[in-house]
């Protein structure tokens, strides 16, 4: 999977290895590249927003970094080592639509799944896992719904269950694929509080995000992506109209300079 042709990063990675360093990552679906030569290195303890138009490869970047889909070139290092050796350091929140919410299980049970990686091959989740899962559920304000069949939860509540599951993974680096997509205001607030809490604990969180209006409020750094990496850096430096126009290929119609109303691609912003 890892390719040695990747460019070596310019100096800067001196002491502790970065939570995530991606070097020349290229992914293709049936010959058409979805990601081309993406290289970046993130700082520990930051909230990072991954921004780009539909089909820009945002989810693909996440999945390739997690080893869920094969890359045809490049290298991904998590705290200086290949992903496979660092699985326990990583928490993952897939897109909510990626699972069947009619599955016969309840909220608590889903959160307990976050512990499976720590249990090894044969151990079953027990009282300890249940306690952790309950605690994680209360952190997202869902303790009262522990016994609720997951299909009976609203979209926002389902999203919070997914976040609680990621918390149960007790990771240092989190990947979240559009956690804000289609959620209610209460959930949005719960997610923000949670992100801030994770940051306070020194965790690093990479979030695929759609709503341009909130980027400046939520993220320390921004990664602009459209098949190729467009820009990466602190939000105030990178999140500029010029860079966004370049990323979205002019498809973005701004009404005013403060990004209040993102027209393209979001639809559910405001």
């Amino acid at each position: 999977m890892s390719l040695t042709k990747a460019l070596s990063k310019p100096a800067g990675s001196t002491a502790a290895p970065s939570p995530l360093s991606v070097n020349g990552l290229t992914v293709a679906y049936q010959k058409k590249p979805v990601l081309r030569g993406v290289t970046f290195e993130i700082n520990e303890g930051e909230l990072i927003g991954v921004i780009g138009p539909n089909g820009a490869g945002k989810s693909t970047l996440m999945k390739a970094a997690l080893g869920l889909i094969p890359s045809i070139g490049g290298e991904v290092l998590v705290y200086g080592k290949p992903y496979k050796e660092q699985r326990k350091l990583i928490g993952y929140v897939p897109q909510r639509e990626s699972v069947d919410w009619d599955f016969p299980t309840n909220a608590l049970d889903v959160v307990m799944m976050g512990r499976y990686g720590h249990l090894g091959w044969f151990r079953r989740p027990g009282a300890k896992e249940k306690a952790i899962a309950l605690e994680c559920l209360s952190k997202v304000g869902m303790a009262d719904f522990a016994d609720r069949q997951i299909s009976q939860l609203s979209g926002g509540q389902q999203q919070r269950v997914f976040l609680a599951r990621a918390l149960a993974q007790d990771a240092k680096l989190y990947f979240m694929d559009e956690p804000f997509a289609g959620v209610d205001a209460a959930t949005e607030k719960a997610i923000i509080t949670l992100l801030q809490e994770l940051k306070r604990q020194g965790k690093t969180v990479v979030v695929v995000h759609h709503d341009l209006a909130t980027v400046q409020d939520y993220f320390d750094s921004v990664l602009l992506l459209n098949v190729e990496l467009q820009a990466y850096g602190p939000t105030e430096q990178v999140f500029t109209q010029e860079r966004l126009q370049q990323t979205y290929g002019g498809r973005l119609a701004f009404l005013d300079r403060s990004f209040q109303v993102p027209a393209a691609d979001s639809g559910k912003g405001v």
């Binding site: 049936q30 999945k63 997690l66 080893g67 869920l68 496979k84 699985r87 990583i90 993952y92 897939p94 990626s98 699972v99 069947d100 599955f103 016969p104 299980t105 309840n106 889903v110 799944m113 499976y116 990686g117 249990l119 091959w121 044969f122 079953r124 989740p125 069949q149 299909s151 599951r165 993974q169």
Partner: protein, 290 residues
């Protein structure tokens, strides 16, 4: 005595199928179960031709090989861009056809009856006795199915959390290092085993009914996975008993009646399930409107 053996055999078939059926239904792979049950045919025939007997061990391995080959081919075709239902259709009909050709070519010399393969002969199960050192050990099918059921129960309970997570959220499963592909093939291997152990009793077509119908019925009745497996087994066994009684009364095909009974139980669950039943939903709506 024959009643007892037939019902026991049927219940064992139903239990094997019911457990695996739950995971097939939840993974939306019901039709892959169908595919495997048909495409193990050439494996069975080849094993039969090689050994000249219904040597269960050899048949088991041959069926396993063809079951996994089916799974692999379906996967490969899907990845090369063919629609998933089309690739299932291509693979299993082609392999099944190979089986049909092989039977028609060679089976005149050896006793292998197409009807028996397709519809089973559970009525004669107590005639086919396993003798060990001259001691009558009971019907061979019961031993074979009992062994298969033990393997299924052992594997599923040992790796319950893996099978569960692979069914609910394969992306997370892969992300935390569960070898999703291996568990996929393991499940399909078990389905192949269940099919080959069952086909002599209920046939390759009706075994699909026992894989899918009890699991789908249980899906309507519960919201917990463990409970769904238990109910699925219960529905499977109830179908066997009811089906056998009906078959005796009507003097009709036993396997056919068993699957019909399963169908009736499914229809009842669809209508009267307390949570998801059509009647309950109508009543709730009426309450809301009132």
């Amino acid at each position: 005595m024959s009643d007892f053996w037939i019902i026991l055999t049927g219940s064992l078939v139903a239990s094997c199928c019911a457990i695996l059926g739950v995971f097939l239904v939840l993974r939306k792979m019901a039709m892959i179960g169908d595919a495997i049950s048909h495409s193990v045919m050439p494996g069975i025939v080849i094993a039969f031709l090689l050994s000249g007997s219904r040597d269960s061990v050899l048949m088991m391995f041959a069926a396993l090989a063809f079951g996994l080959l089916t799974t692999f081919l379906i996967q490969m075709f899907q990845q090369s861009g063919i629609q998933s239902d089309a690739s299932i259709g291509v693979v299993f009909t082609a392999l099944f056809a190979v089986g049909v050709v092989l039977v028609s070519l060679f089976a005149r010399q050896v006793h292998l009856d197409q009807d028996a393969i397709l519809y089973g002969e559970i009525a004669y199960v107590h005639w086919n006795i396993w003798e060990l050192g001259g001691v009558n050990m009971g019907p061979r099918a019961v031993w074979l199915l009992g062994f298969t059921l033990m393997v299924i129960v052992a594997v599923i309970s040992l790796f319950y959390k893996q099978f569960k997570l692979c069914a609910f959220d394969p992306a997370l499963a892969a992300a935390i290092g569960i070898p999703v592909a291996i568990f996929h093939y393991l499940l399909m291997g078990l389905v192949s085993m269940a099919t080959v152990s069952s086909f002599e009793s209920v046939g390759a077509i009706l075994v699909v009914g026992l894989l899918i119908i009890p699991a789908s019925t249980a899906y309507l009745l519960t919201e917990r996975l463990g409970m769904m497996i238990g109910l699925s087994i219960g529905v499977g066994i109830a179908s066997t008993v009811l089906g056998y009684l009906a078959a005796k009364m009507l003097d009709a095909s036993i396997a056919g009646c068993i699957v019909c009974a399963a169908g009736v139980l499914f229809a009842l669950a669809l209508l009267f399930s307390p949570s998801q039943g059509i009647v309950a939903k109508k009543l709730r709506l009426r309450k809301l409107a009132a």
